[in-house]
Symmetry: C2
Subunit: 282 residues, 2 copies
C-alpha cells in the first residue's frame, strides 16, 4: 500500500518513501512515490504520494504538465502550491472518478507536500482525496501516509521540532523498517531526501536498496538492541493476593452453570507485585 | 476501538486487553474486553473481544446463557469451543444484523479465544464476524484484534513459541503501551492474564491501572531506553557522489518548464556514504 513519512524540523525537512505498489498479491511492482521540483536557489518542493497508483500518477502528471495561470512553479507561497496540488486532485477526480466507480474502485489518494520558496520558511502539508489539506506545526511536526500505524509509535517517542535532520532521517528509517517487517505491501528500495533549511536546492538524497550499508546497519542493529533492552527490563513478579482481595484484582469470571458463582479460591490467584526485581544480566 | 493480544507459547498462554470503548470522541467509556471461563481442574477458556460493543456483549451473553446441547462447558475440544463461539456470533447476526443495517451500523466483531481442556494441549483461535476462525501455530504464535498495527512490530521482533510466559507478558505490555501512546481509542485499565500450561485454573491475573508500579516501569523505562539506543546508533554520513554518478543516485526530479532538463549540478547532491562513524557517546 505504501508508506511515506515527512518531518518539519527546525533545521529543515526529512522525506522518506517506499516504492512498492500492488494490485493484489500476485501483482506487485516498483514505482517511486517521491517527486522533487527544484528551481535551484528559488524553490524546492517534494511531493510524496499514496493510494491508487493510477490516480496519484495522474495527479502528478497534471501538475508537471500544467501551463495554467497557477502552477507549482509560479505559486507565490507554499499554501498556494498546496492549492495547486489540491486543484490537480480535483481535476483528476472530475475526469476519472465516475469511470472508476463503474469498476468499483475508490478514488483514493493522499499526498505529503513539503518544501521551501526563497524568502519564506519551509513548510509541510498533507493533502486528501477531496483536494483539501492540513499543515504541520511544532505540535504536530510530521505526517505519514499509507500504512502509517506500524511506524507511528517510534516517531511519537522520539521526534520533536528540535530533532536534528540526521536524527530525523535515522528515526524515519527505523519507522520504515518496522513497517517493512510487518506489512508486505511496503517494500524497498526507499527514497530518502533530507532538505537543509535555506539551501533552496537538494543537497542530500539516497535511494536505499537492501545492500546499502547504512540501511542494513539500522535494520540489523535496531532489532538487536531492542532485544537487549527488552532482556534488561525487569521481569514481572507474581505475588499471592491478600486475603479478602478485592474483586477488582480478580479476572472477569464466568462460572459453569452447575457451580455456585465464585466457587473457585480467589486468594490463590496471583497478581502483579508492586515491587519487582532487576532485569536479566545485561 | 480496543486492542487485545494473545500468545500461544510453549509453556502456556498470555492474554492482554484494554478497556476503552467509544461511540465517538464525546462518548468514551470503560468496558472489559476479557471474559474467563473456568471449571477448576477441567478447563480454562479466555475470550477477548473487539468491534461493536453491543454485538460483542450480545455474543458473550449468548454463550454464558446457553443451555443448548453444545455449550462452552461441555464442548469436547477447543475446536468445538471455537464452533460454539462461532455459532453464537451467527445467532446474534441472525437476530440483530438487519436492524443494525437500518441504522447504517456494520455487524463488526472479532474475538480471540484461547485456553485448555484437561488432557489436551492449550490452543489459541481468532474468530471473525462470519463466525469462522483460524488457529495459531508455532509459525504464527500470536493474534491481535482491534487497533493491532501500532503494536505489531515489537511482537514480530521479539516473540517466538519458546519465549517465556513472563517475557510474553512483558512484550504484550510494551505492545499495548505503544498502542496507547498513538491511538486514543485504546485505554487503561488493562486486563493481563497469564495461563500456565496444564494448570487448568487461573493462577496469574492483574488489572493494571496507571498507578501500577510494574506498568509504570514499562511505560517509563522502555521509552527512555529506546531513546538511549537511538542516540547510540551511528548517524548517517553524507558524501559527494562520484563524477558521472548514476541516475539511480539522484532524486526523481521535475524541472521547471523554462529550464533544460537536468540543468542542476547532479554531482553536488550528496548521498549516504557506505561507511559511517560511531554513534553518540553512550
Amino acid at each position: 500500500m505504501t508508506y511515506c513519512v515527512a518531518m518539519r524540523l527546525d533545521t529543515g525537512l526529512v522525506f522518506l518513501s517506499d516504492t512498492r505498489t500492488n494490485a493484489g498479491v500476485d501483482h506487485v511492482s516498483t514505482f517511486r512515490k517521491m517527486l522533487v521540483f527544484e528551481r535551484t536557489g528559488e524553490r524546492v518542493l517534494v511531493l510524496l504520494s499514496a493510494g491508487n497508483l493510477a490516480v496519484t500518477q495522474a495527479v502528478r502528471q497534471h501538475i508537471v504538465e500544467a501551463r495554467d495561470t497557477d502552477t507549482i512553479w509560479n505559486a507565490k507561497t507554499l499554501t498556494d502550491v498546496a492549492r495547486v496540488v489540491g486543484n490537480a486532485i480535483r481535476e483528476v477526480y472530475a475526469r476519472d472518478a465516475k469511470a472508476l466507480e463503474t469498476f468499483g474502485v475508490d478514488f483514493n489518494c493522499s499526498f505529503i507536500l513539503g518544501g521551501q520558496i526563497a524568502g519564506q520558511p519551509s513548510r509541510l502539508f498533507q493533502l486528501y482525496s477531496a483536494g483539501n489539506f492540513i499543515e504541520a506545526s511544532s505540535v504536530n511536526p510530521y505526517f505519514q501516509i499509507g500504512e502509517s500505524k506500524y511506524g507511528k509509535p517510534i516517531i511519537d517517542r522520539l521526534v520533536t521540532p528540535s530533532t536534528s535532520l540526521d536524527d530525523g532521517a535515522k528515526c524515519a528509517l527505523i519507522s520504515m523498517d518496522s513497517t517493512l517487517r510487518s506489512n508486505v505491501s511496503v517494500g524497498l528500495p526507499l527514497d530518502l531526501l533530507v532538505y537543509e533549511e535555506n539551501s533552496l536546492r537538494v543537497t542530500r538524497f539516497a535511494s536505499l536498496t537492501d545492500d546499502n550499508a547504512y540501511y542494513k546497519m539500522i535494520h540489523d542493529t535496531w532489532g538487536a538492541r531492542l532485544r537487549q533492552v527488552f532482556a534488561e527490563l525487569p521481569e514481572p513478579q507474581w505475588a499471592a493476593s491478600a486475603p479478602g482481595a478485592s474483586a477488582a484484582s480478580l479476572p472477569p469470571l464466568a462460572s459453569p452453570p452447575d457451580e455456585m458463582p465464585g466457587a473457585g479460591d480467589p486468594v490463590s490467584v496471583q497478581s502483579l507485585a508492586q515491587d519487582f526485581g532487576g532485569g536479566a544480566p545485561g
